[in-house]
Amino acid sequence: MDLLTRIANEVRAGEPDAVRALAAEALAAGVAPAEVLRGGLIAGMTVVGDAFRLREIFLPDVLLAARAMQSGLEVLRPQLAAGGVPTAGRVVLGTVRGDLHDIGKNLVGILLGGAGFDVIDLGVDVPPERFVDSAVEHGAAVIGISALLTTTMVGMREVVALVRERGLADRIKVIVGGAPLTEAFAREIGADGYAYDAASAVGRVKQLVGAA
């Protein structure tokens, strides 16, 4: 089995030490860090997301896999930076006002970080002003908002409205996600993007910053 497949398997098994060791081994063998990321860490996490959707595995497996992926990222990060790989862009991420669910949002953050984005995580219960203020302050091109409650998802509309009100709509794109959302709802509130799960969120954010 090649090294990248072994890394993907260990991510899936939620083994941080094995992932760290194999990632270092791959780098030492001359595999490009971006390749370790794509063919190893992200490939493993994608399998995990699909298996969770089918309930072949459960939330604990997903959380442990995410941690294993992060440990691999720590090994790659200095190399990615030293190699002059530019960050893919900056994303301000958080859970909508009134909502405390953060498991899904954290997974989205980890995968975005893995894909080379600089993620500023504002946590949960984030008021609309904070999303927009932070995006401006950090020069972020994208605001990502998560909501798990039908009662709180309507608050996403306020963030979109505020971005427009401040005349930032051509500089800052808003992407939304979370279990109760639909593509139609995202369109209705005027969001620039919607993603069903963490893996597709990465693709959508890349499109939004024109990096896809």
Binding site: R55, L59, L63, D99, L149, T150, T151
Partner: protein, 296 residues
Amino acid sequence: MSGAGLLARLQRGEVVIGDGAWGTLLIAEAGLPPGAPPERVILDAPEIVGAIARRYLEAGAEILTTDTFGGTPLRLAAHGLAEHCEEINRRAVELVREAAATRALVSGSVGPTGTLLAPLGPARPAEVEAAFERQIAALAAAGADLLCVETMIDLAEALLAVQAAKRVAPAVPVVATMTFEPTPRGVFTVMGVTPARAAAALAEAGAEVVGANCGNGIEGMVAVVAELTRHAAVPVAVRPNAGLPQLVDGALVWPENPAFFAAHAPALVAAGARLLGGCCGTTPAHIGALRAVLAA
């Protein structure tokens, strides 16, 4: 009826009806803003809490739940209310007791702490258990007749709650329910706990009644109850929600109305449920309809 009286009735195979949702009514009637802690209403508008309890009583509920689902200090801390833990839980019991008098039992609601236990998250078992102990001690001291540990997805956390209850309030019966989802591969919580494992472990930890609550509508609960009944050595409780809420013209609407709820309830009894009530989206009208159909 006392907590012990309730257990005797359930063990004889009688069906007992509890209440329905609280948060749903607090949002609709107390104007609770989205995501605001329902426990706030106990301090800010106690009369609304009493009024909801009276409406469930009139609808025929024999058990009334306290508005303390998020009443552990860990959950309250997210809203800056941790230091009000004792006051909130005590007042919540008193308000329901005032409404119930001797006509219904007061059940102290204990929900998840909202943090994940190590290694999945930052919480240490000792701190989670201490949080449950603090809430449960306050509920019991105020005179709760029973405790309902509910909406649990992680068996380890549910067991910490039941163990805490048995330590600080050993005389108060515990109803412990988890949130299961029917999947193509069988029934599990999102953390992967099966009804068989939950039923055995919760009863072993001392829960006198085990079961399921919340979920995604009443129809899927029949399979969940059947699984629980097959494996439980104690009576089974079920509190389905009225489906998942939808936004219709800006208003929150739960898809399953009282008639639908009542029409499917006999299947839950046939599957083995003995203690029935409702979760999110159910109302006094759902409980009234449930009572009518089960009395018929």
